[in-house]
């Protein structure tokens, strides 16, 4: 009888765990060196190598090992409420102050980050923050379908809504919500000369075909003219460690 009860409890626990779609993303253990102050809502990313790009995508670095210095990056995409503290004539619905700011061109995004004492992340910094050091394809590692299929448009969410979709460094919104400006020009082998220096790399949003919505892999490089502003395009900021007082 005891054995039966024990087995039943074990089976029940397994079913409960299997049904829980909000699996926790295993976090990398990071030790912040003494003397490095990490501001609220920023994350310390240590110096070191990571694998950038993927062999399946010739417009990426195709799995090359890249070294970055340590840096800080925003845990969340820049919120509308915070952006308003920088640009007083920025109007937004106060009930959506925690949604990502969008319709912001590259220069405005860069200016905000400077105002906050930082800069836009480089593409390498962005990708390392999203995938960690283990060559994963999704920030949360495992593949699953985007749950919002069946709708054509873009539906932003509060920047801190999805703890189940964080990166191994605990960073939100790197596989969904808005696309994000990075500081790098978009270039790749064989690029047409007329395109050189014309676009900036944007990262980390969703792709759509008709009403099918898909997560994009962490290595996927999108591109955009710096003057563009669209409702699906926002940003987050980064800082070099040496600039932290």
């Amino acid at each position: 009888m005891r054995l039966f009860l024990f087995a039943a409890i074990v089976i029940l626990c397994c079913i409960t765990l299997a049904c829980d779609s909000k699996e926790e993303v295993e976090q990398l253990k990071v030790v912040v060196p003494s003397g490095v102050a990490v501001p609220e809502d920023m994350v310390y990313i240590p110096a070191g190598d990571f694998i950038m790009g993927d062999p399946s995508d010739p417009k990426t670095l195709q799995g090359k090992t890249i070294h970055t210095e340590a840096f800080l990056i925003d845990r969340y995409e820049t919120r509308r409420g915070k952006y308003a503290s920088f640009k007083s004539d920025y109007s937004f619905d106060p009930s959506k102050k925690n949604f990502p700011v969008a319709n912001i061109d590259y220069a405005s995004a860069e200016a905000y980050c400077r105002f906050k004492g930082g800069r836009l992340p480089t593409e390498a910094e962005w990708e390392k923050s999203a995938r960690g050091i283990d060559d994963r394809k999704w920030p949360w590692r495992n593949f699953y379908q985007h749950p919002n299929n069946g709708f054509s448009g873009f539906l932003p969410e509060p920047v801190d809504k999805r703890p189940e979709w964080i990166s191994p460094y605990g960073i939100y919104g790197m596989g969904h919500n808005v696309w994000e400006w990075t500081s790098d020009d978009y270039s790749y082998p064989g690029q047409a000369p007329a395109e050189l220096g014309k676009f900036k790399v944007i990262r980390g949003g969703l792709t759509q075909t008709h009403t099918t919505i898909k997560f994009t892999p962490v290595f996927f490089r999108n591109w955009m003219e710096p003057t563009a502003s669209y409702p699906f395009l926002g940003f987050r900021c980064a800082r070099s460690i040496k600039s932290v007082d």
């Binding site: 054509s152 448009g153 007329a194 075909t209 009403t211 955009m224 669209y230 409702p231």
Partner: protein
């Protein structure tokens, strides 16, 4: 009294917008009835440029057509077809990107939305624009979006007056929006202080915003082969960008 264009303009001057039947086309509802006359505008997959029509109808009789510009404006306008040729004309080559995945390219000729803004003088609170059509379709935009440089109120396509299939006598081309936002057969433009719904957000899974999302396109002029798009106005590698002359 026969209601024709001249009477429309005369009536507008004499009685004001409230008494006008001018843009109130009585359109039979064939959305759920396949037995509509063959000569009606309807969905057809023309290889060069597919035709899409939410509600099949006969097309506009120009003698019964007029454009009313109203809502929150200082000057309400009633314009006949020939009045539209008094505006400064522009032309551009741009793609119509359908939310169903295909896109097609044409040379569009017409005038800028700011021409109407200058004449109608909308109130400062009027941040939105609602458009209605002769086939009982309707759309909603942010005023700011309609003032973007590549947005045209279109009178001609590929050097000829718009055809019945493509929205004669007046349609909108906003190249960074999905095709369903590019309303045809426009009869009424209202400035408003709140965002309205549009036809497809009320009848299907398509967003009011309708900004073209990053994803995949199947251009008709490329044998529908899949090509990546970055979001916003679609330019494929074989398309000329505006700054390329």
């Amino acid at each position: 009294m026969k209601f024709n264009r001249r009477n429309f303009l005369k009536a507008f001057s004499a009685l004001g917008l409230a008494l006008l039947p001018g843009n109130g086309y009585a359109v039979p509802d064939y959305r759920n009835d396949k037995n509509f006359p063959k000569e009606y505008v309807q969905n057809r997959d023309i290889p060069e440029f597919h035709i899409r029509s939410a509600n099949p109808f006969l097309g506009v009789d120009i003698d019964n057509w007029g454009l009313v510009v109203g809502g929150k404006v200082k000057n309400k306008l009633a314009l006949g077809y020939e009045d539209l040729f008094g505006f400064k004309t522009h032309s551009q080559i741009s793609r119509l990107k359908c939310v169903e995945c295909w896109s097609a390219k044409a040379k569009w000729g017409g005038f800028r939305f700011e021409e109407l803004v200058e004449r109608a003088e909308p109130h400062p609170s009027a941040k939105y624009v609602h458009l209605k059509s002769a086939d009982s379709y309707y759309e909603s935009y942010l005023l700011e979006e309609l003032l973007r440089p590549r947005v045209l109120l279109v009178l001609s396509m590929n050097g000829a007056p718009l055809s019945k299939d493509h929205g004669y006598p007046l349609r909108l081309i906003a190249p960074f929006k999905y095709g369903y936002k590019n309303i045809k057969y426009i009869t009424q433009i209202d400035f408003a202080d709140s965002q309205g719904r549009n036809y497809w957000s009320n009848h299907g899974p398509y967003s009011v915003d309708g900004t073209i999302q990053p994803g995949i396109d199947h251009p008709l002029d490329y044998h529908k082969k899949p090509l990546p798009i970055n979001g916003g106005e679609v330019f494929h590698p074989f398309d000329k960008r505006p700054d390329q002359g």
